[in-house]
């Protein structure tokens, strides 16, 4: 864990995370991913590649899916962030999370937080997506375990549609 002592060049950044106001003292070019994981202890967001390819680090920033490994902390100032921890406000799982559990959408689980948030974004824009739209909406999130089939089923289940 990097020491939290005062460092010149760091700045205070305020943002809302999962509905709660937070202020962190970080370098402006710290990655949002690292701010979430280290400063805020929200380790649900994962690092898989560090280059914006795998989507394991995806979070919702002002309601839009972004790869947090590619967002400098300063650009998240004033933003409203939703991470996997904030999806379900209480102990009750959201329909999407329950569907991932029911349909086998999570195997090793490392891509799952990002995949669920990408699914959330997709369903926000298209509440009744076609299978093609699901494929496209999740194409920025790599899963090595499932071959995607049961992830599609989970999303269609959560959308209330019949899997094709």
């Amino acid at each position: 864990m990097i020491s939290n002592s005062e460092r010149p060049g760091q700045c205070e950044i305020s943002l809302a995370v999962n509905g709660e106001p937070k202020t962190v003292r970080v370098y402006p070019m710290a990655r949002l991913l690292d701010v979430l994981r280290h400063e805020l202890g929200l380790t649900g967001t994962k690092e898989g590649c560090g280059e914006g390819e795998c989507g394991s680090c995806s979070v919702l920033m002002n309601g839009k899916l972004v790869n947090s490994c590619l967002v400098p902390a300063l650009q998240a100032a004033g933003a409203g962030l939703t991470t996997i921890e904030g999806l379900a406000p209480g102990p009750q799982l959201t329909a999407l999370q329950a569907a991932f559990l029911k349909c086998g959408g999570a195997q090793c689980g490392i891509c799952t937080p990002g995949m669920i948030l990408a699914s959330r974004q997709l369903l926000d824009k298209k509440p009744k997506p076609t299978l093609e739209e699901v494929r496209e909406g999740l194409s920025g999130n790599l899963c090595r375990c499932t071959g995607y089939m049961q992830i599609f089923e989970a999303v269609m289940e959560a959308a209330g549609g019949n899997p094709e």
Partner: protein
């Protein structure tokens, strides 16, 4: 007959809730007080003598902990099979990215710079980069002749077969390296305490492999080494033996610094420095009768093991045993060879030699079909193994397997014949060409031959103080469903609700050695031990007064009472080799595996000749798996394996230069996205398995064997051009077509 309540149902994934809420904790989610970060200084050349190591004077090296080979208390090796791989290079390097020095610092950014601030001068030595160069022995880089291992499987009288043959069909088939590409990179945390010894938390498949390796490396007795598996984000074999290396590194730094040390690789380091699937070359020469029956043949199977032996002998073993496919060979000679090259050692990846040799066999069957003038369907039908016949290792098939019937079912499911007819017409017009391809194969589950006997796996089941049941096994969960299936089996055996069963975190201080989580053995072999151990718990309680048809509440009460009275309630089961299973390690003959799963895969492929890109449009995966223990998990395993097989065939290419992987980023090493895969349609047959828990056969690796040859067969069907090498990229299809005679393309 299935009267089971829990086995056979898709119960909730045991650790699933944590995974969908972000609560699951992987290595990089963990920190410890006073923890340092560790990093590795690696060789930048493929082979040479280390002349000088310099440390940039602009750094305050006193801030760092540094470890070299000289700091190793025990033996400088990664104890596995041959023990030839050093933990840290000592004077000499044999592959790019070979670890030389370790550094630790509390700031990972400063650490990163420090790694770049170490300069190493080498006297380069000649390196070897191809199997062919290695075989030529113009440069010896390992042992006496660059050969890690050879095998010979000899069945029947091969000499007489050539004269009897109506056709002699030859072919050479090659497969490239493949990166496991688990989405969670390798990582460990190590902590050392003079009294307790070393503790390792890691993203790993085999806690006891790491345990054994740490004992040798650190010169510690068994009780002073503790290995704990953390939640693991994918493995596929890439975390079978590699974790012993990264664990050893973290442990050495922890011992020297007196502080916990975390080592996490970034994607580029993980891709360039860790193991990959062995590249292979298979040569077939087959004697065939005019009615398409295999009379006999020779198979030469060669794999590239990289710079050190590591697991190559075992990969070779599985490759040669599977090389003949699901067919009856009256006689055969299979020569296997694993050779050394100056690459980072290749290692385990789902399938473990079988995807390589089965690619060759199934491509070769289509070749035989063409030569004989039969269809790919018919050639297979005429040669499938049947009850009572023997495999290439003289193992008698004791189940009433009817592969012809499975083939018929797969043909219907894939609409094979109708599509083939349609494509003949459709392919006449336009740049899009479509084709269908078949692969028939088998996969033996569990360790080969006497392997399971040697492992002597042990599983425990514990009745807890609160009346719940806990499974104690070293078998690890990394997505495939270990936790869920082993708890299901225990629940079924005890006739208790699934929710009453937990499973202990694999911690060598807490669980016995149930063997490594590899070889598709967990559900089948370890599951059987869980069942036995659970029955042992029941027997103990029944002996203590619990009646036979207890309710869950009564069981719970009896368990609580027993623990209160006796302090603990535990039952252990040890692997007992089944009777009638004999394997001759010298002759490489006999019962290679307790059971085989069987499969027919059919791919529909579309090739667009304006871009030369092949895509899979539909995929039918039909397999006989003994018993489906958990439908959703089983389907998930097959779909995921097929996806990796499609990647192996069409997308995943390791670009090598001077022994180093050049495309070590997810941008340039291409795995399929959700937009690239077809609907993967999964179907099961169940014939039971007397050697597996509730009749199950191992299925984890099976799906890796079929996709690549089915796809290559389909592409040949579409284009009329032969492709015997994978990965098969659009650039390769383009080169083959532009070099062909126009008449060879329909």
């Amino acid at each position: 007959m299935k009267e089971e309540q829990i086995v056979g149902k898709s119960v909730p994934r045991k650790e699933g809730r944590d995974k969908v809420t972000g609560a699951a904790r992987y290595i990089d989610d963990m920190t410890m007080p006073g923890m340092l970060y560790g990093a590795t200084v690696r060789s930048q050349i493929p082979r040479g003598v280390i002349k000088k190591i310099s440390f940039d004077s602009r750094f305050n090296w006193a801030e760092f902990v540094a470890v070299s080979a000289k700091d190793i208390p025990g033996k400088n090796c990664i104890a596995l099979i041959g023990d030839d791989q050093p933990c840290l290079a000592d004077g000499v390097v044999n592959h790019p990215e070979e670890p030389i020095l370790l550094l630790a610092h509390q700031n990972p950014h400063v650490l990163r710079k420090a790694v770049d601030a170490v300069s190493i001068e080498y006297e380069p030595l000649p390196a070897v980069f191809t199997m062919e160069d290695s075989e030529r022995c113009s440069q010896i880089i390992w042992g006496a002749d660059n050969t890690f291992k050879t095998f010979l499987i000899a069945k029947g009288d091969i000499e007489s077969v050539w004269e009897k043959a109506d056709y002699i069909v030859e072919g050479e088939y090659t497969t490239g390296a493949q990166e496991q590409l688990y989405i969670e990179n390798n990582g460990v945390i190590a902590a050392f305490d003079a009294d307790q010894g070393i503790t390792i938390w890691g993203s790993l498949q085999c806690p006891y492999y790491v345990h054994k390796a740490m004992m040798a490396l650190l010169n510690l007795p068994s009780e002073k080494v503790r290995v704990v598996q953390a939640e693991t984000g994918g493995a596929f074999g890439g975390k079978e033996d590699y974790p012993s290396i990264i664990a050893g590194h973290a442990a050495l730094l922890a011992m020297k610094s007196g502080r916990p040390v975390k080592i996490i690789y970034d994607r580029m380091e993980d891709m360039t420095a860790t193991t990959k699937r062995h590249p292979s070359r298979t040569r077939h020469r087959t004697a065939v009768s005019k009615d398409g029956k295999i009379l006999g043949g020779e198979i030469e199977f060669t794999i590239d093991g990289g710079a050190y032996a590591t697991l190559s002998s075992v990969v070779l073993s599985r490759g040669v045993i599977h090389a003949g496919g699901p067919y009856y060979w009256p006689c055969i000679r299979i020569r296997g060879k694993a050779v050394a090259t100056s690459h980072p050692p290749h290692g385990a990846f789902r399938g473990f030699g079988a995807p390589q040799s089965l690619f060759a066999m199934e491509r070769h069957m289509d070749r035989i079909a063409q030569v004989v003038g039969l269809s790919p369907v018919e050639i297979r039908r005429r040669n499938f193994l049947k009850l009572g016949e023997t495999t290439t290792t003289d193992q008698v098939i004791r189940e009433e397997i009817d592969l012809g019937k499975f083939l018929d079912r797969a043909l219907v499911l894939s609409d094979y014949h109708a599509k083939k007819s349609r494509f003949v017409n459709e392919n006449q017009i336009g740049p899009v060409k479509k084709g269908m391809g078949i692969a028939a194969f088998l996969h033996g589950a569990g360790f080969t031959g006497s392997g399971e006997r040697y492992l002597a796996s042990v599983v425990g089941v514990e009745g807890c103080a609160d009346g719940t049941i806990r499974v104690l096994a070293a078998s690890t969960e990394f997505g495939q469903g270990t936790n869920t299936v082993l708890c299901q089996i225990a629940a079924e055996a005890l006739k208790l609700p699934y929710d009453c069963i937990q499973i202990a975190q694999p911690d060598t201080n807490q669980v016995p050695n149930s063997g490594p989580t590899v070889a598709s053995r967990t559900a089948m072999v370890v599951g059987n031990l869980v069942r036995s151990a659970a029955i042992g718990i029941r027997q103990t309680l029944v002996a203590g007064g619990l009646h036979d048809s207890y309710s869950p509440e009564e069981f719970q009460a009896a368990c609580q009472r027993h623990v209160a009275e006796h302090g603990e309630l535990r039952s252990y089961a040890r692997y007992d080799p089944p009777a009638g299973v004999f394997w001759d390690d010298q002759k490489y003959s006999g019962e290679a595996y307790a059971s085989f799963a069987w499969a027919i895969y059919i791919a529909e492929v579309r090739v667009d000749l304006s871009t030369y890109a092949a895509t899979v449009e539909d995929f039918v995966a039909l397999q006989e798996v003994g018993r489906v223990l958990h439908p959703i998990l089983a389907k998930g395993q097959i779909a995921g394996g097929v996806a990796q097989g499609i990647g192996f065939a069409l997308y995943e290419k390791v670009v090598w230069q001077n022994g180093r992987m050049q495309n070590g980023q997810m941008t340039n090493y291409i795995m399929p996205t959700s937009a690239d895969l077809p609907s993967i349609r999964v179907f099961f047959e169940e014939m039971g398995n007397i050697h597996g828990a509730y009749g199950a056969k191992g299925i984890g690796e099976l799906p890796m064997d079929g996709p690549a040859p089915a796809i290559a067969n389909a592409i040949e069907d579409a284009l009329g051009t032969r492709f015997d090498s994978i990965p098969l990229l659009p650039e390769d299809i383009f080169e083959a077509i532009s070099n062909s005679e126009p008449s060879e393309i329909r």
